[in-house]
């Protein structure tokens, strides 16, 4: 569904992504993990067309995304940090988004209701706390029932209850030919959601494997143990 074909990107002289080749398919929930500065955010931004790679090409459903914007109607994106116009209210923001994507009639209001966004409708976005802004972003990402969900550190600012709601929603969303891409440091949160692990390190894909296969290879169950095992094995090989 989303294919990254030999992507190379550098900022100045520092290469951030070196020759990335990935093929994300339908019905996958991919955990994009890796240490700080491994290029996770850049990878996500390249998929969304916000960062333009120097080499290589990204295709969405077989069509290259360069210079395109319409493919993004299939994507729901929840950014790592949100900041909105100060005097806009929550309901105005949702109203604007619906206007901007008015061709899309599908609505998924599960999170909108679960996070009680309606009740904060008249509040100005500026006075919302970080966690509440995250809730708004999450509800926005799901609003149009998109085929692809891209979540950048979704659980970072959320309280435990909201976190559970989001996780449940993600579990429910998998299937129906969806593709979910989550980047996170908090591996415990990913355990029950993801089907594949994509590990980035220093701008290269260390591995991209189904979680089941990794479980079998390492004889571990929890994701953080699995990653630790794999990295240890790598070290021993070297």
């Amino acid at each position: 569904m989303i294919k990254l074909d030999h992507i190379y990107k550098s900022f100045g002289r520092i290469p951030v992504l070196k020759d990335i080749f990935l093929d994300y398919g339908q019905n996958q929930a991919i955990g994009l993990i890796g240490p700080n500065g491994s290029g996770k955010s850049t990878l996500i931004k390249i998929i969304l067309g916000m960062v333009l790679p120097q080499k290589g090409e990204v295709t969405f459903d077989g069509k290259p995304i360069t210079g395109q914007s319409q493919y993004r109607r299939h994507i729901g994106y929840m950014p790592q940090m949100s900041r909105f116009p100060a005097n806009m209210t929550v309901s105005q923001l949702f109203h604007m988004m619906k206007k901007l994507r008015k061709d899309e009639k599908q609505r998924d209001l599960d999170l909108y209701h679960a996070f009680e966004i309606e009740q904060m409708g008249s509040k100005r976005l500026e006075i919302l706390s970080g966690g509440m802004k995250q809730k708004v972003s999450a509800a926005l990402a799901f609003l149009f029932d998109p085929k692809v969900l891209v979540l950048d550190e979704p659980t970072a600012g959320l309280d435990p209850i909201a976190n559970e709601i989001l996780k449940e929603k993600l579990q429910k969303s998998l299937g129906n030919d969806r593709l979910i891409l989550i980047s996170s440091h908090i591996l415990n949160d990913l355990d029950d959601i993801i089907t594949h692990v994509c590990y980035l390190m220093e701008g290269e894909v260390k591995f991209f494997k189904p979680l089941e296969q990794l479980r079998a290879e390492t004889a571990e169950n929890r994701l953080n143990r699995i990653i630790a095992q794999v990295l240890k094995q790598e070290k021993n090989h070297v």
Binding site: R83, N87, L140
Partner: protein
Amino acid sequence: MFKIAKFIISDLIKNWIILLYAFFLLLATIGFFLLQGQGDKAILGVLNLTLMLVPMITVIFSTIYYYNMYEFMVLLMAQPLKRGSIIGSFYLGLLVSLGLAIVAGLGLPLWLMHPHWVSLVLSGVALLLSGIFIGLALLVAVWVRDKARGMGFALFLWVYFVLIFDGLVLLMMYNFSDYPIEKVVLYITFLNPVDLGRIMVLMQTEAAALMGYSGAIFQQFFSEWWGLIASLLIMLAWAFIPVAFSFRMFRDKDL
């Protein structure tokens, strides 16, 4: 594009800095007329204030606004929208809301107190300067990623156009005062929209008579229709070129 611009405008007209800006302009305009009585003298006072304040507020506010809206821009970029329409609606939003502040704070009171051609020219110059300095601010903000450095650049642009440029012109006039440089000076002012705006307004008042020989040359140029139209076109070019550059740069920018 107009959809996003509409929301940006409805956000900006509630912004307290813009409200304060409009209110201050209103107060100052009325103040000059009350203190100096009717006519050209008050216009000159308003003109001097406008030429200092409008570029400064516009360039600082627009630069800060761009940097503060960065995350929102990222969110918009994730929607099926073209890059051009995102930066375009930011420009339009800033232009309309800062323009409204000028109309409410400067244009209306000027017209009520002094309903003459010169009031219209002065309001028009203030609007053009807003467009020009929003464009320059966007150019700087798109170009420079770091907020502090971007702010520094934007402020430098203001200092350059309001102070340094005039100093350089004075220096040149002083050194070449033995030569007939009036025509040259006229062309040099085209390089600075603030000076051009000043002369456009001054030539509509009687103060032009005090400016000696170069005043006469300027008056000849600017009081004719084609002179005014030519300077209007140059101002529009000043507004258009930085904006065009910033749009181009934004298209290939990594957010």
